[in-house]
Amino acid sequence: MARIGVFICHCGHNIASTIAVEEVVKFARTLPEVVVADHNLYSCSEEGLGAIRNSIKQHKLDRVVVAACTPRTHEPLFRKICEEAGINKYLFEFVNIREHCSWIHAKEPGPATEKAKRLVAMGVSKAALLETQEEKESSVIPTAIVIGGGLAGLTAAASLVAQGIETHLIEKEKKLGGQLCGIGVLAPGFEDTTKLVESLINDLKGSKKAHIHLNSKTKVVHGFVGNFEVTIDERGKELKIPAGAIVVATGAREFQPKGEYGFGDLPGVMTQLELESMLTKGRCPHRTVFVQCVGSRQPGREYCSRICCNTTLKNSIRILDMDPGATVSVIHRDIMSYGTAWEELYRKASERGVRFLRYGLANPAKVTKKDGSLLVNIYDETLTEEIDLETDAVVLATPMVSREDSGDLSKLLKVPRDKHGFFLEAHVKLRPVEFATDGVFICGSARWPSSAKEVMCQAMAAAAKAAIPIKRGKVVIEAITAWSDPDKCAACGNCVAACPYEAVEILEQDGKLVAKVNEAQCKGCGTCVAACPNDAMQQRGFTTRQLGAMIDSLVKHALEAEQ
């Protein structure tokens, strides 16, 4: 028999204003194997935690159920209290009666209280079947791999090397620097990009810890956090690199218009990168029209690429610096100069005579050829009339789009991408620059279009996070991994095919073929459990018996109440 303690939280008024907490406590006392049930004003306060800790000791509890908010934020805290009071943290079960009950049934206190009782009963029935788990540790290879040698990759690699970590930088092109090489200067401070790239490259070349692989492509990735093996093709030669952590810094590319605004047909119609390469070479158009949001914020590619407005502002000022008599017009749908420095740049551009004209998605500008120059016809939404602008250059501000080969890398590393092909981090707020796959990190525009400064911040953040397992020298694996019962396993291999992480193998054990889970590689999704026809495969903390008991409990308490 288990000795379960149930603690119901008032969460001030958040729960108690809807749910009759004391009634739920009384109900919990009637549940099997419950030794003590109590309530706290705030379970997560020092006082509430102390009460749980004392109760565990006083009543010799071996299971704890807290009915409060969401495990997604508070489970680690209550697990820690269990550990402090001497019980294994996997013997704790969370019941959500705030987000999933009191807050969403605020006008129905009676039914909400009844539902809270059933949720508590379900949690208690699972808790009774919880088992002590041991978290496995595995060693970490003290080497990092950075994929991509643009600003993000260079910054991440330089930061890792500065932390004393052996780092391999893999770049598919024949030189480092990526997109940054052609840009010339960075706004808002107008730093020279060549100098920035050179200083980062010098940092790397000056260190014995840095290994730069040019003309190299990632071919195969095996392993898991702490123990990866990445195979690269370096100029036709295969090289296997063992590593503890991987940073993805593959960047993005500028969208190439497909004939819009005469691009490709009319000379003088160019992209931002083409303009920047021209400006860097010292040439500058006398009359320029920038067209914003070409190929973005429209059906099919709805997102705002974030950096194009700022790039336009920067290049406007750059043109006016080179040729003070130049005319610059910007036709836009909205100017998104986010942040203080960029807003300042917008003001500066306006002061220097850059004209901002607004167009609508339904009325795109028309670009035609006229006597050796170009004519831009737009419907100005502010003036509500058509305007013709004569110009020498039409610069199309196109969005950054994901690289064509990001899909290949996503498959190799088993990390997700969004619908536009940008990589998806584990959680934007709680786990930035980390992938859900442990030991793999993401930074720069491969994640989302970012300014150079943002790219560098993210790269340093990713390098700092990648250094954590390497510096610790070991990784702890959350005990929600799967295991297979050799007595039930028929070695059908469904689990092997189902596992997205190649963590299950069929191996011979005691003269019999059985499925075996590599715990360090298992991410605890439980896909193999549902694929198993023999109920041999189980997931720790989510066994079929535990979930089955929750269903039985719901059946019992819901249907009995009906009768």
Partner: protein, 139 residues
């Protein structure tokens, strides 16, 4: 006769739909109190047997919610969910239980409103279907 209040069991994946349900809570979106969420790590870990077990014991409806296709925390887990549950629905129809008592949908961590909509509509649907006939059957 008292109003029929269906009992509904829901499986929500930890990363998207459970978080979507949390967001609905944080946003105070109101919905009928019939749904009981079991948290799983991935919708792909929900055994069809769980739905069959619940429905055979008289639970009125089972809701399985996962991440949108392409957004699965485990990359392709929900592809399996998407293939698996239509078969279970067909099976339910074949044995004479309405397949509509089992519903599969996708709710992201950012879709509190969608969670509210899915739950509200499913509760309405199950109310229309009436009590699970197996409630009366004692095995």
């Amino acid at each position: 006769m008292t109003e029929f209040r269906p009992t509904i069991l829901a499986f929500c994946c930890n990363w998207c739909s459970y978080a979507g349900a949390d967001l609905a809570g944080v946003s105070r979106l109101q919905m009928p109190p019939n749904i009981h969420i079991v948290r799983v790590m991935c919708s792909a870990s929900v055994k069809p047997e769980y739905a069959l077990k619940a429905l055979s014991q008289g639970i009125d409806g089972v809701l399985v919610l996962g991440c949108h296709i392409g957004d699965c925390h485990y990359m392709t887990g929900n592809h399996r969910t998407a293939k698996r549950f239509p078969i279970v629905q067909k099976l339910l129809n074949d044995v004479g239980l309405d397949g509509r008592r089992l519903k599969l949908d996708w709710v992201s961590a950012a879709e509190g409103e969608k969670f509210q909509k899915v739950v509200t509509e499913f509760v309405e649907e199950v109310k229309r279907l009436g009590p699970n006939p197996l409630k009366e059957v004692k095995f």
